[in-house]
């Protein structure tokens, strides 16, 4: 499983683990699980469209994930947040289905985009993926303080001059970027569970921010690596392993909390 053709997958998987762990930390802090559920579906449409016109998958993923993020951000400003997110989510999925229906490989393509594919990342996309990951990391480092403040005390942040709407949009775009990198391997429908399972387990173990973020990254890495290894062995879809392992992480975290009697 570590032969040449799998190296790309392992590299991307590691990147996926790190970014999903960090971005997921903020997703859980802000209670944005539903949004993390919605944006990858936008990416799905983009990948479908890209495959239809023969463009780079990564490009399609990126463009549509960003569009979906902006749509949710701007439409959600005055409408009900839940409703907008749900409708945009569905629209993106429908669009993806439309694109794929025009291609020959309708069913298998849909399946691997939704549920992941071990060999999902092409070598040509490796360098762009690394670049995107670095951009993500830099963005988080730069936005760290105002993002934390506005996630926890939104009105106070606004009163102190933080442009909270711009920051909300920036966060959605971050999720879009993280999604773009991770969907080819993990699948659009299951990427969000990777982003919430690992941080949920991490927060059960510690109350310190930096430690929680590091643990979140660690758990995400372990989840992704295990999922790839198991999928390679059994041929079962990666999405299945990601979903169940993330649930396992979450449960272990809850168990730990119970045993410790509520960590201080």
């Amino acid at each position: 499983m570590f032969q040449g053709f799998m190296i790309d997958t392992w590299v991307v998987a590691s990147i996926v683990g790190v970014i999903a762990g960090i971005v997921g930390f903020f997703v859980v802090l802000r209670g944005s699980s539903f949004v993390a559920h919605a944006i990858p579906n936008g990416a799905f449409a983009g990948a479908a469209g890209a495959s239809l016109v023969g463009a780079s998958t990564l490009l399609g993923l990126g463009v549509f994930a960003v569009l979906g993020a902006l749509g949710i951000g701007t439409l959600g400003r005055h409408g009900r947040h839940d409703v907008v997110t749900g409708l945009v989510l569905a629209f993106m999925l429908g669009l993806g289905a439309l694109f794929l229906s025009r291609t020959i490989e309708y069913a298998p393509a849909i399946y691997s985009l939704l549920f992941g594919e071990v060999l999902g990342i092409s070598h040509a996309d490796l360098v762009p993926t690394i670049v995107l990951a670095l951009l993500c990391a830099i963005a988080i480092a730069v936005l760290y303080r105002p993002l934390m403040l506005s996630s926890v005390l939104g009105e106070v942040a606004a009163a102190r001059g933080v442009r909270t709407f711009a920051l909300d949009l920036a966060f959605l775009l971050l999720v879009a970027l993280a999604t773009t990198m991770t969907v080819p391997v993990v699948g659009a429908l299951l990427i969000f569970s990777l982003m919430i399972g690992a941080p949920a387990a991490a927060r059960a173990l510690t109350s310190r921010i930096t430690v929680a973020m590091a643990l979140s990254v660690l758990f995400a890495l372990i989840s992704v690596w295990a999922a790839i290894a198991l999928s390679y062995r059994t041929n079962y879809p990666i999405g299945f392993f990601v979903g169940t392992i993330s649930a396992g992480c979450f449960l272990l975290g809850r168990l730990w909390s119970r045993i410790r009697g509520g960590v201080a």
Binding site: A97, R102, G197, P237, F250
Partner: protein, 329 residues
């Protein structure tokens, strides 16, 4: 049979590709679609009022698990959706349906596991039967491919859901608006909530066979949310939601059928795509009146304040100018 065509205005008929009214598949699709849209509009309105959209979404995703499990077991997807939905409703009722941040997380995790299972079932079923269409049918729906033998079952489930809503109408309205007040008046809030969840689960199963399990919430929430933006009266909202739903479904079916003739011919667009897009458009359109009134407000505000002349601040011993209307609650 071309008899129905004579009732349709000729301009409308000319927009529809030939063979529409004579196709059995179309008739089945229209019947099921209209029934489901009505139920989804009614139940969806209550869902939005109760703030339980996420529950509807959960039923949809868990329906994927049920539908693909049914596929693996060789039974029709509808029953997979229904069973998964009822099981999910029972679990939600046991755990408590209140939407809180912690609950969102737990729900997300469960959905992830459920979708992962769906992936597995689909993979196993596809490998076992060597057919590849199941993913699309279950997740994205294919209303034209529903056998007409399903129609009586759809009718039955639709009637059960509507009957539940009709029986529970008053207590449901009250406990949706204010659970405390309802409880004080002797309404069994917990029971009403549980029964509503059953109706919701059945409705989502119905929308799942119409437009697919992962798209199902759009038909549930979209028309209802649009209707609630347009009207304050619950009854009007229920009717509008059903009407909008029926409109989007029928138009979606028509467009999908027509798309078979669009270049390049012979390759129709998915119905679900049309329906979901139309729902989104309807929702966005419903926001226009509010947008216009916001703009009028800020303009009015400037005019109103420019008009009131003179200072009327009261300092200690200051003077009041003009009459003041008191707002003492």
């Amino acid at each position: 049979m071309s008899a129905p065509a004579t009732f349709v205005p000729s301009t409308f008929a000319s927009l529809i590709a030939p063979g529409f009214f004579s196709s059995g598949a179309v008739r089945t699709a229209l019947t099921i679609g209209v029934l489901v849209a009505i139920v989804a509009g009614v139940v969806g309105t209550f869902t939005v009022l109760r703030g339980q959209s996420f529950a509807g979404h959960a039923f949809g995703d868990l329906g994927s698990t049920g539908g693909s499990g049914a596929y693996l077991a060789g039974i029709g997807p509808l029953w997979g959706f229904v069973i998964a939905g009822i099981a999910a409703a029972a679990a939600m009722e046991a755990v408590g349906v209140q939407r809180a941040r912690g609950r969102d997380l737990a729900t997300g995790i469960v959905l992830g596991a459920g979708l992962g299972l769906a992936a597995l079932f689909l993979y196993l079923g596809t490998t076992a039967t060597s057919t590849t269409g199941a993913t699309v049918t279950i997740l994205f729906g294919s209303i034209f491919a529903i056998p007409s033998s399903t129609v009586p079952w759809v009718l039955l489930l639709a009637l059960i859901s509507l009957a539940l809503i009709a029986i529970l109408y008053r207590p449901l309205m009250l406990s949706s608006a204010s659970p405390e007040l309802a409880a004080a008046r002797g309404v069994p809030v917990r029971l009403v909530g549980a029964l509503f969840l059953v109706a919701l689960a059945l409705t989502v199963a119905l929308t799942a066979i119409t437009i697919g399990s992962i798209l199902s919430t759009a038909l549930l929430i979209g028309p209802a949310a649009a209707a609630l933006r347009l009207t304050r009266s619950p009854r009007a909202a229920l009717a509008s939601a059903a009407a909008i739903g029926v409109g989007t479904v029928v138009l979606g079916i028509v467009l999908a059928y027509d798309s078979n003739t669009w270049p390049p011919a012979g390759h129709a667009w998915p119905v679900s795509f049309f329906i979901v897009t139309l729902v989104l458009i309807a929702y966005l359109a419903s926001g226009v009146p509010a947008y216009l009134s916001r703009r009028r407000d800020s303009r009015e505000g400037r005019d109103a304040n420019a008009g009131s002349a003179g200072a009327s601040t009261l300092g200690a011993g200051g003077e009041t100018t003009g009459a003041i209307s008191t707002v003492v609650r």
